[in-house]
Amino acid sequence: MATLTYREAIRAALSEEIERDPNVVILGEEVAQFNGAYKVTEGMLEKYGPKRIVDTPISEAGFIGMGIGASMLGIRPVMELMFWSFFSVAYDQIVNNAANVRYMSGGQIACPIVIRGPANGGTNVGATHSHTPENILAHHPGLKVVVPSNAADAKALMKTAIRDNDPVMFLENTLLYGIPGEVPEGDITLPFGRAAIAREGKDLTIVAYGRCVVHSLAAAQQMKAEKGLDIEVIDLRTIRPLDVNTILKSVAKTHRVLIVEEQRPFCSVGTMLAATIQEEAFDELDAPILRVGTIDAPAIYAPPVEKQFQLPNPDRVIAGILKVMR
């Protein structure tokens, strides 16, 4: 085991895969000379040179599309979006080309590209830079969607993503980049679609992913201390494929579900989860499924308001827990 930050864990995965496979190339805005806008690729240009670590112009539709085209020939581009918020200018390339080209060609073409970058609010950068598009991406068959919550998972899932022959959308979090965690050494990968039980419990199931796992664990700990509640926290790790079985097994034990997500409520990942749970385990439920998510408005700038009210946080998770337990 080594202690790495989430950022270092991703860098380790990128570096190991660059060394393992000559077709892996990292492209994105400021990934090379600038060392990465969030320093994920720091030092990599020096180590691996300009053929493998490539600065792109600010041109997401162009370079993401270019990466998709190159991936059709067997290159494995790992494309950094400085913020996932910028996916909107490359949306046509992602959904019409990356997601559809295999289908439209009757299965003749594979598209082994990874698009990665941070997707989160909570940094007071306003509505344009705070999008969390995992629901929008997961809506498109052909795409896989990964949202790691900790350093160990980030490394293992990134290695899986790069080796995957389908387009993988890898959503990180600027507020997790600096958080350390124990990361197993060596060539460890994690299969997609295997959720983790981040905390075992019997009284209520929280389904979360990404940074909301951190909020949920904090809330669960406090509820144990204050109310004696044993809350189970499931970390989905991947949104698509989705590990439904782990959720259902937990629901059969706890009979109560709270979904915690950094998503606005309309057509969120949580709506998919809630629909699936009630379709498949209606009789197991002792209470309605509730969601704690982002308050339904564009991301507000006002720093304390965004943090305290608009986004999920441990206090809001606790309020949700108490409501489900009522």
């Binding site: 998709i68 494929p241 590990d243």
Partner: protein, 370 residues
């Protein structure tokens, strides 16, 4: 062929005179090197494209082809000329008017027709349709529906070729309407910035759907290359020798020096944007007739090859009869083929789920299977 255009042809005005015989481009290196058999094959491909597409029309009108049908009739010399120059590491990608390129790269017309019918024997198993033909085994990467969206992909093919150290190039085709899409300009910049071996080939048929060039585009289309310090060419699309001569030069530059270029080819479509387009509001019938009478690419090449004594009347008739019979056989094949099944809907979505062994876990890739 010219690096700079002479006075650009005024859109909406038919060319005045029939191009002269012999073609002034017959002795260009790319054409002088052709054998008689190769010339006949070029002519045959153009005829096969036209007869195939003409055969699509009654089938479409009978309701057997769904959706859109964007016919390439009138533009055949462009795809055939361009694709005839491809080496093993050259790649082609185009937009939704893609039947001509498919036949030009060597796809069999039976699965092409079956694809239009939506049959499982189609080249994309009935999942793509008219706009989405692909043959990666022939370096043909589609067949793309969003105007200009294929141009970054074509740039990526060139990036891949260069990254892998191969001596090849990509030809990324688009219509005149695509030059106004942002993605095209982003691709121009990347290609020029990184010296990628890609040719951006504008098939200027004068109309983006029903909007003429002068109603949609400021300035000359090819000239936009200058902003990116790229070489650009304008050439006539009626003379396959001119198409080959121009693209041959540009392709050599791309393959050998990794230099991208823009090639604008003046051409014309005889049918509407799609077959459903009544084609009555934005151009005169006379304009179509004038082009057909003076610049039809099949007729011009036929005249040239008769002049060269490569084609005879007998051979012309034989080629035509064979092309019509081939189109009929394609229809018979499509008619006799089954549709995909309901189970087929969720195949070919993920590479992984098409494999006997999955590595991912998780039950939901799709909402209804697993």
């Amino acid at each position: 062929m010219s690096k700079k255009p002479s006075a650009p042809a005024e859109t909406g005005v038919a060319p005045a005179a029939t191009p002269s015989l012999p073609s002034p481009h017959a002795q260009a290196p790319a054409n002088a090197a052709l054998t008689a058999e190769q010339k006949i094959e070029l002519y045959r491909k153009m005829v096969r494209i036209r007869r195939f597409e003409e055969r699509c029309l009654p089938v479409y009108n009978a309701g057997k082809i769904g959706g859109f049908l964007h016919l390439y009739i009138g533009q055949e010399a462009v795809a055939v000329g361009a694709c005839s120059l491809m080496g093993k590491d050259d790649h082609v990608i185009t937009a939704y008017r893609d039947h001509g390129h498919a036949i030009a790269v060597g796809m069999d017309t039976k699965p092409l027709m079956a694809e239009l019918y939506g049959k499982v024997t189609g080249c994309s198993k009935g999942k793509g349709g008219s706009m989405h033909y692909f043959a990666p085994d022939l370096n043909y990467w589609g067949g793309h529906g969003i105007v200009g969206g294929q141009i970054p992909l074509g740039t990526g093919l060139a990036y891949g070729v260069k990254y892998q150290g191969k001596k090849g190039a990509a030809m990324a085709f688009m219509g005149d309407g695509a030059v106004n899409q942002g993605a095209v300009h982003e691709a121009y910049n990347l290609a020029a910035l990184w010296d990628l071996p890609v040719l951006f080939v504008i098939e200027n048929n004068r109309y983006s759907m029903g909007t003429s060039q002068e109603r949609s585009s400021a300035g000359e289309l090819g000239k936009r290359a200058e902003a990116y310090d790229m070489k650009w060419y304008v050439c006539g699309g009626h003379d396959i020798y001119e198409v080959r001569a121009t693209l041959d030069e540009a392709l050599r530059c791309a393959r050998e020096q990794h230099k991208p270029a823009v090639v604008e080819i003046d051409t014309y479509r005889y049918r509407g944007h799609s077959v459903a387009d009544p084609d009555k509001t934005y151009r005169d019938r006379k304009e179509i007739e004038d082009y057909r009478n003076t610049k039809d690419p099949l007729q011009i090449f036929q005249n040239q090859l008769v002049f060269e004594k490569v084609l005879t009347d007998t051979l012309i008739a034989e080629i035509d009869t064979a092309a019509r019979a081939e189109a009929d056989r394609a229809v018979e094949f499509a008619e006799a083929s089954p549709f995909p099944t309901a189970e087929d809907i969720q195949k070919d979505v993920y590479w992984e789920t098409d494999q006997p062994q999955r590595t991912s876990e998780g039950r939901i890739f799709f909402n209804s299977i697993d």
